[in-house]
Amino acid sequence: MDLLETSLISGVVSGLLYALAGVGLVVIYRVSGYVSFAQGDIAAVALYLGFWLHQGGAPYLIVAVAVVIAGAALGGLVGRFVVVPMERFGILAAAMATIAVGITIQGLENAFIGGEARPFPSAGEGTAVTIGSVSLTWADVISFLVCGVIVAALATGFKRTRVGIAMRAVHDNPGAAEMLGVASVSLKRMSWIVSGALAGVTGLFIAPVYSLTPTSVNAIVVFGFAAIVVGGFDSIAGAVISGMVIGIATNLTAAYINTDLVTTSLFLMLVAVLLLRPQGLFGRRPMARV
């Protein structure tokens, strides 16, 4: 029973983190129509900066703010100078460019910093709440709250604000958006800045648990990617629910079947959803006149 309880509760907590990782991908997708595979690598660069600040004695809050700002700045630069200009060759070229950026960053990190695992400070030590037999640390609670607030804010932003609606319009029909006077390139660049900041936030909650290496955030972004595929690319609520389902399902797999099958169970779930409902559990089919 304890094992089940632990699997469920920690599944929900990690699920929301998967959702946040996924939402960082959705922000760019919702404007430009492709996914950035450099998300984890942008986070890693920002986290190394945070790591050195922490080594130099900076308090956690400063470290956290610096990581988010660095993520936003690096995301903005990558979008501005590499990926958005590449869109003129099509979204596939742009998506490939994000892979190239990611691998380049990893290579530079391995060459100049080294790939060994480094400890990263946590948002809060010690037990904050105990639910049944499960104790959640302050870091878990803060992660849950921050992820929840950010995901809710983004969902509202895309649905209710003029900038959010205009971003969706750029994705829907970029030519029409331009003709109506929407500055689509600026909105695309903005999505990269927001997405970079989200990469930083996601990294802040991943690095203390999995320690900091050039690829540790990437490992979780894969779960985030699965969350948005299962939930549906255009549904932030879907990303949250499917993030939690993935969190619980993978925890149950680890607890009751075999820890080696965690990734297998994740991808089986992904394939099943894609076969049965390609637009995701909560996604809508795109409208097209035939």
Partner: protein, 232 residues
Amino acid sequence: MLCAVNLHAGYRRGVPVLHGIDLEVGAGGALGVIGRNGAGKTCLAQTLTGALPVMDGTVLLGGDDVSGKGSRARVRARLSHVPEGRMIFADLTVRENLEVAAYGAGVKLTAQQLRDVEQRFPILERKAHDRAGSLSGGEQQWLAIGRALVQQPRVIVLDEPSLGLSPVAIDGVAEALVGIREAGVALILMEQNPYLLKAVCDEVLLLDQGRVTRSLDGEAGEQLVAEAYFGG
């Protein structure tokens, strides 16, 4: 209000489609441009609205030279475009389509403005929360014109608004455009449908291979259109 002088433009550098177009429309006026497929109507619409660059010549909006400016600057100078094929945002709701248009023009979509547009096109209110892609062709055309209206334009350039519409829907478009003219907005209407041009415009230019070959107006114009465009 909108004036083009010796306008040359095209889709590719060094390959002009328009060869020295002159046209002018005043506030509340309506100028039609008729021509076969490939005559250059869409190229002219896109050059006037800034979607295509001007190769040579001048576009004046309210006396200001906007030749070097793109779509965004011209929309913000109150020149709106109803593009060929409507180009609505299919996955956004009807209301969101209007919101984006207002955002693009840098104006706020006030309740009053929304009421004005929805009174003119009641379907846009009834289907405000439906996805725009679910609208019929005629309804989508209302939405495309509604989007232009919420931009508070001085001039609207419409590219073949009758395309793919039923005769009844075309009647509705004609009625709506006359109403918009009467509100003081200038219209430039690229069309192949002589009925719509006759119902809305004072003057019609006949465009052929990128040149204005005739300027037609009144009953004589109608006869000339029939002769020149349909072969008699």
